[in-house]
């Protein structure tokens, strides 16, 4: 009886532990949450937002979370830097097929705004 109690406890503990382990994460998010919050609160602080996001997407060793390349693209769009915006939207599009429709619309829209049809990289 006592032994079984211990076993049950051990099983429960293991269950709890594996529950934690499964949350170690698929992606790198870095300071994305704080960056987005700050951007909602103070949209004019673009430079800091771009710096924060750049740091997040440059991380090596884990897949960058979905949407983050595009968020950086949008930050550049707000800053009036169309070519950089296109670059990051293309990166999102290549990484995530689910983003195809939105990225395609954004990219083609922005390419029409460029002064010349130069190669963007």
């Amino acid at each position: 009886m006592h032994k079984h109690g211990k076993l049950a406890l051990a099983a429960a503990l293991l269950g709890a532990l594996s529950g934690c382990a499964s949350q170690s994460g698929l992606y790198h998010w870095g300071e994305y949450e704080d960056a987005v919050y700050e951007q909602q609160r103070a949209p004019e602080e673009l430079e800091a937002y771009i710096t924060q996001l750049t740091e997040v997407v440059n991380y090596q060793g884990k897949v960058i979370a979905p949407g983050l390349y595009a968020e950086l693209g949008t930050a550049y769009l707000h800053a009036g830097k169309i070519e950089q915006a296109i670059f990051w939207y293309q990166k999102e599009q290549q990484q995530w097929p689910e983003s195809q429709v939105l990225m395609e619309a954004l990219i083609s829209n922005l390419q029409r705004r460029l002064p010349t049809t130069q190669e963007v990289n």
Binding site: E33, Y37, T74
Partner: protein, 216 residues
């Protein structure tokens, strides 16, 4: 030994009660729709906390993404909406899910309403109660796939030192700091995690979550 026999079934029953999770929500429609992507609209805010939508938007992508879904970039979505002349969340929520589906190429849309976000300040602690209402609809059919209302109560923790007097002072300092400039990021994270991962309301695992962890 007889007393033991008598209370044993009772004890087992109690233990079973602890271990058995509550009957989970019916997610069969969600599973059948098998969405790959979720578009999160900026929330409608019915509370008096003006920063509540920002806290929510900042903390919703991570738990959804880690569940294995493609989450549309929340700030980009907001920007696109504004460019289309729709800047009020209320107007956005009135758009048909199928229309949003065509605009963004998303499989589903998450609509959130912040019903309540109230802080009660007392000397030693600050307690905040939030109530959020979540609905996920199919962007292909408009069908509601998942709906839940969640209330979360949050008190920032100053940590315990083991010394009651020190704790009392620390608690008062934490409460004062919260009053001056509240940080609701932990609260918003907690609310979104509890809803999306909680035993009752958890959403099914998405396509990017490996099968092994998906069953957890």
């Amino acid at each position: 030994m007889r007393w033991l026999k008598r209370i044993l079934p009772l004890t087992l029953l109690l233990l079973a009660g602890c271990v058995t999770p509550p009957e989970p929500m019916d997610t069969s429609a969600f599973v059948a729709a098998a969405p790959r992507s979720i578009l999160v609209l900026p929330p409608v805010n019915l509370s008096v906390e003006v920063d509540a939508p920002g806290y929510f938007l900042a903390t919703i992508s991570k738990p959804l993404g880690e569940k294995g879904y493609y989450v549309f970039p929340v700030n980009t979505v907001k920007t696109v909406m504004s460019a289309e002349g729709i800047s009020e969340p209320k107007e956005m929520h009135q758009l048909a899910p199928t229309q949003l589906g065509k605009m963004f190429g998303t499989d589903t849309v998450l609509y959130v309403t912040i019903n309540k976000w109230d802080s009660q300040y007392v000397v030693l602690s600050t307690t905040t109660v939030v109530e959020l209402e979540y609905t996920i609809k199919s962007a292909h059919t408009g069908e509601t796939l998942w709906h839940t209302v969640k209330q979360v109560t949050y008190t920032p923790d100053g940590g315990s030192s083991g010394n009651p007097l020190a704790d009392l002072i620390a608690g008062a300092i934490v409460a004062a700091m919260e009053r001056a400039s509240p940080n609701y990021m932990p609260l918003a994270r907690q609310a979104n995690y509890q809803v999306l991962y909680g035993a009752y309301s958890a959403i099914p695992a998405g396509p990017y979550l490996p099968k092994q962890t998906a069953s957890n």
